[in-house]
Assembly symmetry: C2
Homo-oligomer: 245 residues x 2
């Protein structure tokens, strides 16, 4: 197999046969990215930008399940972008997905992008100073606000979105006040929220938010998602998202 | 019975025999106020202020179930305060509860109050312009931001609270971005949140929030409360709150 290296795996998304290459030992995509891609409403023909794209999981899911015209993934770690580009070639999705190695804080880079109808982002969740061991570690960069803060993400999103365009972000519930206040500060109005619980009786551990650039103030709450049923098995909603019977 | 008038009822809280007088046809206390009083953590000997107190339901529940030293209810509608004062006499709680008729926007009034350890508030939920028929209607004043906005409530709360004191507010989930952003604007940090659902599979319809004056940034999510079980009966948690077997 020419597409993958010894330290990588190639994983089936159960979605039109699309597969994504990942490192065996570095940050691998999780349920968060899958939920984000399923939460985002993508108009037909939309131009989409995915920040903090990592393996490219969100663009690949969107290519498989929506009529987005083109999806651009932006990722600061060059080695991840090189890997994601091999996933494009493997899936023959060159006409629908592109990856760019760059820093979302780079305003010159953002200016070169065509204006987006939709932005998706699965950013680092944790504050920079919360328990990092190695600043160069791929996992640390993906999980902690080392290379970009929540505010950097919102600023970049506002810059690349068309007026009234939508953003979709997945994050941790304990950051919700930060998220709402940072969004509002930059006129990215929170419009829809969906809480994700590991199971009934637990506190939520993932939050999905839709924002609208220059949107009016009204927040709609979707029904919550429970990942596991009370017997510990995956819930019907999760099985449906993962394309299982 | 000398305590109640023809257009009033006297309702048992199932809590140390405490009863509260209400109008038959005007704003009657609901599950929101009961959940708020049960959500608030009241240190022993605390001085508590309850804004938008209405019938006084929150002070009466707190007097019955906590070791608060004294609870002051503030209410703008004089007729409600007169009724709530009769509830005090009926329950012989003169040493633990007092009601004041006043406007929480009145800074001179707020200065006369002893500094509070805890503030509770069940404010009007709806924006002023959202479908009001009669501005003088008691229900309209309790439900719409006619006499005070969310920001008025937060400003008054910060004024009367001791540094690091806690506030407990019950509100509608669709206002959550407003709540968080207004709290932060006035350095009232959201610390704990609890979502309340009518039942599993529905969107949440009540939110309970603990804030701390000058508190550090970390938001803890409590397990959610479901009012009804799937068969339509009240959940165990609700029955426990209402003191039912």
């Amino acid at each position: 197999m020419d597409f993958i290296m010894d330290d990588e795996t190639i994983d089936d998304l159960d979605l039109n046969g699309i597969k994504v290459i990942q490192k065996k030992d570095a940050f691998r995509f999780g349920v968060d990215a899958v939920l984000l891609a399923n939460f985002a409403r993508i108009p037909k023909g939309a131009n989409v930008i995915d920040f903090c794209t990592g393996t490219g999981i969100v663009p690949f899911i969107l290519a498989g399940k929506t009529n987005a015209s083109y999806i651009t993934g932006i990722e600061i770690q060059e080695s991840m972008v090189e890997m994601a580009q091999r996933s494009i070639r493997y899936n023959k999705l060159e006409t629908r997905i592109g990856f760019i190695s760059g820093d979302l804080r780079d305003k010159e880079l953002l200016k070169t992008l065509p204006k987006a109808d939709v932005v998706t982002v699965n950013p680092p969740y944790k504050l920079k100073d919360s328990g990092i061991i190695n600043l160069d570690d791929k996992n640390a960069i993906a999980r902690h606000e080392i290379c970009c803060t929540l505010e950097d993400v919102i600023i970049a999103t506002v810059k690349v979105l068309k007026d009234n365009g939508r953003m979709y972000i997945v994050h941790r519930p304990e950051r919700l006040a930060d998220i709402f206040c940072t969004m509002r500060k930059h006129r990215m109005e929170p419009k829809v929220i969906k809480m994700v619980y590991p199971s009934i009786g637990k506190a939520p551990n993932i939050v999905l938010i839709e924002g609208q650039k220059y949107g009016g103030q009204f927040l709609k709450w979707e029904t919550s998602l429970y990942v596991h049923d009370e017997d510990g098995s995956y819930s019907d909603e999760i099985n449906k998202i993962y394309g299982r019977k």
